[in-house]
C-alpha cells in the first residue's frame, strides 16, 4: 500500500488531494499517520511512534489504523502498488 506522494497535509489536519481537488479533515492522529506514510514508514514504525506519542494500546491502535486506512482507500488517497 502506498499513499499518494503529492497529498498535502496541514498541521491542522486538512488534507488536499491536488490530483482531483478533494479535501478532507482529520484529527491530529490521522495527520501524523499520513505524514508517517508519506515518509515511507512501515506499519511497525507507525505503530511504535503513534503508540508512544498518544499512549494508546497496540491492539486498539491496530483496529483504528485498519479503519483509517480503509477510509483512505475509499477516498482514493492510497493505492495498493
Amino acid at each position: 500500500m502506498k499513499i499518494h506522494s503529492n497529498l498535502a497535509v496541514s498541521d491542522s489536519g486538512f488534507i488536499f488531494n491536488p490530483s482531483n481537488g478533494d479535501s478532507f479533515s482529520t484529527n491530529a492522529v490521522g495527520a501524523d499517520i499520513i505524514r508517517l506514510l508519506k515518509a515511507g514508514k512501515s506499519l511497525a514504525d507507525i505503530k511504535k511512534e503513534i503508540s508512544v506519542k498518544y499512549e494508546v494500546e497496540p491492539t486498539v491502535f491496530e483496529k483504528d489504523y485498519e479503519d483509517f486506512i480503509s477510509q483512505l482507500q475509499d477516498h482514493f488517497l492510497v493505492s495498493n502498488d
Partner: protein
C-alpha cells in the same frame, strides 16, 4: 518598466454578461488589465442593456452594443467599422460560442481595418462542434461518449434504447439535461429545441468526476498554457461557482495532445469526465475561454493577456508551471447605478 514604456493598446471584448450563467468577458478583461506590459483601453461589446459588465467599475472604459449573431456578418462588420472609426481597436476578443462563426468569417476584413483577432479556423471550430466531436475523437484517439444527433422527436426512443438510461440531452450551443426516462428526455428535447433550435444531441451518460481545462494554443501546435480545474460548487445551471486548480500531468498531456492534433489557434476549454478508473472522456470542447478564466491568471498563467500578445504578433513563451490549490469563489454583488446610464446604453447603444 516605467508606465510610459507600456504599450498602449485598445482591446474590444464581448461576453459582459456576468450573470448566473456567465460569459467570460469580465474575467478576460481582468486578466488583460492585470498584465503590466500594456496600457490598455477596454471597449466592451454588449448585446443586451443589462449585462453587468457594462456598468462595473474598472472593467470597460466604453461600451457599445453590437447586433445579435442572427443579424449576420454584414451588419456586424458595419457596426464594428463604426466603433473602430472612433476607438481605433487593436484586438477583438469574442467570447460567445454563438458569435464566433461570424467573427471567424469577418476576421480577414477586420485585419484589413487593422484589427487583430486570434481565433480558430473555421475547420478547427467545426471539428470540435458537439455534432462532430465523436468523429473527431475517433480520428485523433480521444475518448468521447457515444452520441447521436437528432432532428425529430420520433428519433428519440430508438436512440434511448441503444444508449440506455440515464442519457444526456444537449442543446446545439448550450445546456444539457440528464434524463432517466423517455418522458424526461422528450421534455428536455422540447425545452432545448425551443431555446437553441435543432439539432439536439443525445449522448451516452458517463459517470465520474468533472474536470475542466482552460488552454491556449498558438496555432502552430504549441501549447502556451493549460490549467486544469475541478468545480467545487456547481449551480443548478451546471456552472462553476467555485473551483480549484489541480496537479495532474495526464490532463496537461491531454490538452497538449488536443492542441498538437488540431493546431488550435486561440483559447478554449475542454470539459472532461474522469471515470473512477481514471479514463478521461472529453464531454465538450468550448472554442473560447471559459468564464472561470481569471483563475488561470491567479494561478500564474495569464491566458487572456497571452492571447492579446499572440494576436498582436508577439512571440509568447509557453508557461511551464502554475500554482496548484488556487481557488476561485464567484459571488453575487448588487451594483447600484442610475437610470440615466441604463438609458444611454438602451437608447444610444453606447455608454
Amino acid at each position: 518598466m516605467t508606465n510610459s514604456a507600456k504599450r498602449k493598446i485598445t482591446v474590444a471584448v464581448t461576453g459582459l454578461n456576468a450573470v448566473d450563467s456567465p460569459g467570460p468577458g469580465v474575467a478576460v478583461i481582468r486578466g488583460i488589465r492585470d498584465c503590466e506590459d500594456f496600457d490598455v483601453r477596454i471597449i466592451g461589446l454588449s448585446y443586451e442593456s443589462l449585462e453587468p459588465g457594462i456598468y462595473m467599475e474598472g472593467i470597460a472604459d466604453k461600451v457599445y452594443q453590437i447586433p445579435y449573431p442572427a443579424a449576420g456578418t454584414e451588419t456586424l462588420l458595419s457596426r464594428i467599422e463604426y466603433i473602430h472609426a472612433i476607438e481605433k481597436i487593436d484586438v477583438i476578443i469574442p467570447n460567445f460560442d454563438a458569435e464566433l462563426h461570424n467573427f471567424i468569417k469577418i476576421s480577414p476584413q477586420l485585419k484589413e481595418f487593422g484589427i487583430a483577432t486570434f481565433l480558430p479556423t473555421n475547420e478547427q471550430f467545426e471539428s470540435r462542434d458537439k455534432v462532430n466531436l465523436f468523429k473527431f475523437g475517433e480520428k485523433h484517439g480521444f475518448l468521447i461518449p457515444k452520441d447521436k444527433t437528432i432532428y425529430d422527436l420520433s428519433e428519440l426512443p430508438a436512440v434511448a434504447k441503444d444508449f440506455g438510461y440515464p442519457l444526456v440531452v444537449k442543446g446545439k450551443y448550450y445546456e444539457a439535461t440528464v434524463a432517466y426516462t423517455l418522458e424526461q428526455a422528450q421534455k428536455a428535447f422540447h425545452k432545448l429545441n425551443a431555446k437553441w433550435g435543432l439539432p439536439i444531441i443525445v449522448q451516452e451518460f458517463i459517470s465520474g468526476t468533472e474536470v475542466n481545462i482552460a488552454a491556449l494554443g498558438d496555432g502552430e501546435g504549441n501549447t502556451i498554457s493549460a490549467v486544469p480545474m475541478r468545480k467545487l460548487f456547481i449551480t443548478d445551471k451546471g456552472k462553476a461557482w467555485a473551483g480549484i486548480t489541480l496537479e495532474e500531468q495526464s490532463l496537461i498531456d491531454l490538452a497538449e495532445k488536443f492542441i498538437s492534433a488540431t493546431k488550435w489557434r486561440g483559447g478554449f476549454e475542454i470539459e472532461i469526465m474522469r471515470t473512477q478508473d481514471g479514463k478521461p472522456y472529453i464531454m465538450e470542447v468550448n472554442p473560447r475561454f471559459p468564464a472561470w478564466i481569471y483563475l488561470t491568471v491567479g494561478a500564474g498563467q495569464n491566458q487572456p493577456a497571452s492571447l492579446v500578445k499572440l494576436a498582436l504578433g508577439e512571440k509568447v513563451v509557453p508557461y511551464t508551471s502554475y500554482e496548484v490549490g488556487k481557488l476561485f469563489i464567484r459571488y453575487a454583488w448588487d451594483l447600484i447605478t442610475d437610470v440615466s446610464e441604463f438609458q444611454k446604453i438602451s437608447a444610444f447603444g453606447e455608454l
